[in-house]
């Protein structure tokens, strides 16, 4: 659905995105993660048609977004900075958007507002930060967009509000195949809902793909050969080690190998302890970054 190719974007001569590529499959829930300042918001704003790329293509449904009203009509961008909406009431904003967007669903809008228990006639500046997010979310979702783009959406919402938000998102994805693109730091939550992931670091996409595929290929191992120093030479040579930390006599490794390879390792090296833990998104993220920073320590 979203296709970014060879994207370059600089601000005042400082490059923010460099030869950036990204693919978001239609109907997926895509999580965009990265360090602060890596370029997440820039990417989202480029997709939303707010910024113009210096070079490269930003395509939604095969059509370029920038200055394309027809494409933007199908997008709903929920920014991090909600100050714009402060002087509005939900009623006014709803009316404005209902006139602008053909696919506005008034009933859905009413339903969401009611569920969040938001006062329609009150100015958004009087809402708490969380309620404002809920309100803007309602405004976005009521447009029944083909693609929902959320920049740090869940911060500041209480657990029940988060559940509601996810419920509506999932409903939309399930019912009409809405594509969702989320940028967030809350990797735990994203892990539960995203099926695709993209990791940005310093303006480049360093890891992208189906979350499940990425994480099942990688494992976290806790290995010990006994006391410190008991580790044999070349113990981990046979494994593709992405990341390693040593704490006393226990090594924590992140390896990219399949079951068979792990089994072989166990049989050959006979560690005293070799526990395997599923990899979380957080670890995947840190590991991917670690790879970029050449922090892979030499095993020997």
């Amino acid at each position: 659905m979203i296709d970014i190719r060879k994207l370059h974007k600089s601000f005042d001569g400082v490059p923010a995105l460099n030869n950036f590529e990204m693919k978001v499959r239609g109907g997926s829930i895509y999580g965009l993660v990265g360090t602060n300042g890596a370029g997440k918001t820039t990417v989202l704003q480029l997709i939303g048609g707010i910024l113009k790329a210096d070079d490269g293509k930003v395509l939604v449904d095969g059509r370029p977004v920038y200055e394309n009203a027809a494409v933007k009509e199908k997008l709903a961008f929920v920014p991090d900075d909600l100050s714009f909406f402060s002087p509005y009431t939900l009623r006014d904003a709803g009316r404005f958007f209902s006139e602008l967007y053909r696919d506005w669903d008034g009933k859905l809008f009413d339903a969401i507002i009611e569920q969040f228990q938001l006062d329609r006639k009150r100015r958004l500046s009087k809402f708490s930060k969380g309620m404002r997010k809920q309100a803007v979310f309602a405004l976005a979702l009521a447009r029944t967009p083909a693609c929902l783009i959320l920049d740090e959406p869940i911060d500041g919402l209480d657990p029940s509000a988060r559940k509601t938000v996810w419920k509506y998102i999932v409903d939309a994805v399930a019912d009409r195949g809405m594509t969702t693109l989320i940028s967030s730091h809350n990797l735990r939550e994203m892990e539960g809902f995203c099926d695709s992931i993209g990791v940005i670091h310093r303006g480049r996409m360093i890891l992208e793909g189906d979350l499940h595929a990425l994480t099942t290929g990688m494992h976290k191992l806790q290995v010990s050969f006994g006391q410190s120093g008991a580790r044999p030479e070349g113990a981990y040579d046979a494994l593709h080690v992405m990341h390693m930390e040593t704490g006393g006599s226990v090594d924590s490794l992140i390896v990219q190998n399949d079951e068979a390879a792990l089994e072989r390792f166990r049989k050959e090296k006979k560690p005293l302890i070799c526990d395997r833990l599923p990899l979380t998104l957080e670890e995947l993220f840190l590991c991917a970054l670690g790879g970029e920073n050449d922090e892979i320590k030499d095993v020997l």
């Binding site: 707010i50 009203a69 009509e73 002087p87 602008l100 053909r102």
Partner: protein
Amino acid sequence: MRSKTSYEYPLRICSAPIVRENLRRFWPAPLVGAFLYLAAGPFMLLLAEDGMRQNHLRTFLMNFHPVFACMLVVSPLIAAILPFRHMHSKGASAVMRALPVTKGTMFGSDYLSGLILAFAPIFLVALGTLPFLEPGFAHFAACPADVNLYFDPAWYPDFSDLILWLADSVVTVLFVFSVAVFAGVIAGNTAMHLLLAGLLNCIAGIIFAVTFGIVNRFFYGFSPDVGAGMESFLHPLAFLMTYGGSVNMAFPGKLDALILVVYAATAIIVSVGACILCRAVKAERAGDPVVFRGAAYIVTFLVTFVGMSAGGFLFCDMLEESQVGVAPGGVWPPGAVPVNFYVGAFLGAAISLLLTTMVLRRTFKVFNARTLKDFGCFALVAAVFLTLATTDVTGFERRIPDAREIKSATAELISVNVFPYQWNFVQTVLLTDREDIAALTALHRDILDKADAYGVARTEPYASDRDAQLDADSFPFPTNDFYIQYEKIGGFGLRRSYTVEASYPLTVGADAFGRFAETRAYKQSLSLANMAGYENLTELTLCHIESQFGPVLSQSGISDKNGMIEFAKCLDADFETLDFDDMKGDNQALMTFLIEYRAPKAETDESMRGGVSQVRATRFGQAIAPNPVSNDPDARLTLLYSITDKYERSVAWLKERGYYDGMIKATAELVREAEAEAQIYG
């Protein structure tokens, strides 16, 4: 509710929901404006007394009322700021750009909303004024000069005046609005928007004033009235403030329709330019002072340019008096180098550049290599400009056409106090004779030669509707003005104006001026035939002028018309024969006459050709002040004419008719009275 938005029609210039939204959010602004307008206008009219009502109404329609004049600026400024505010904050910009409209459509929608907001108060107030107007559309034609617009019932404002006012106001508001919108596209935040809107609106005026001031200061002989009338083209407000707009039709020949069309066209061009520019604005620059780097340079340059000039002028004015060797009044003789100006210009430029850079970069730390480089660039351009503007590369100052090439010439002498008339006034001399023209060019050359010691820099065109006496007070010493215009054979003419110390014609320049004063054309211009016209003489009375209370009339005089005409002819004949020594007025006046004559009926009154009255002034044949022409048969103008014993023919005629002795006695009587008066009043 399904509404068509822009994407369905790719060329749609605005989106209805956005316009509606803007109006919904911002309607209080024009409401306040309308309220102010209504309070100052129609409401005040309601309260005014009947008699004063029309008076007030005309004041409003001529935009002389401060609220009305203010609203023409404030309303469009606010209307240009509010709908475009979303461009000036990152958060708002992000949301608005994500909407399903192109930037062009957004601009069009905001522009239309702004126009509605700007025009609403004006149309509301027009409606509110309607009940007070006379019905009819009679006032589109120019009105005669002697009508008192304020109190003549035939000229009470009617619908046509309202339409003219609307035309003025709409064009002014449109212009200010367009320029402010343009400024808003360039500016990145609201504060800069306001500043730039002000700067750009005034820019034509500023550049004009600065260039004019510099050239006028540096080029001796530059005639400031080249710019007269141009102020109308600097800004609609200047046009309105000078003339009151289209409603005040006391100035025939005014190009008000042309001006309105020019401003409207400029406004449209500026708006289109703003639309094109706004599509190049990058969202990430919202919040910066200026969104285009090029614009930052231009703004810096403009402000520094103004600062440079201001600094230069300031320094010159401050240090002039203490300078030795500089002529009083501070004109720089041809070829001189005004060090003061350059010092002041440098300081002014440096300070302005630093301040502007601080504002645009939003930091105090601007003392670095980059700023120095900017200053260097500016200095380069400024050097070129100043060189061109201050040094006489074209030989402007010294240029006097060859006498053989001159077809005709006009010389206007202002406050040159010459005999026989006793009041300063503007005198116009028309020259066609070769000899006369040669005398004029010789005078011209002499003025240039004596510029070092006697030249004065005049900073504004001579405003002839002021009393020449008053004008002399604007300098710490009395001055004379010479305006010289040459028409060349088959080519462009030459126009110069010089202000010199009052003593010039009678002392240092006596030779050259004397030769000129003795020409036929000069004598012709001062003859009574020219000044009044024999048929128009109505009274000729003896008087004395030494009294501090003004001329004192005696009973004695010539009362019959034919006698007056004959005597006048004698006076003219005598005057023709006088040479310069006689004219200098060193001789004691024998007697002085107060001559009254009928005011001319029209511009083209033949009897007025080439002559002047004390009140009216011409500027090279074109009227620039209200003419005291009048259809009123009782309107009169006066002259004071003194004769000496050199007026042989006139004296003989008086003796012949038996007036002489009586007049001499009466004069002595008046002198005694004056002396007695002086004793009492000191």
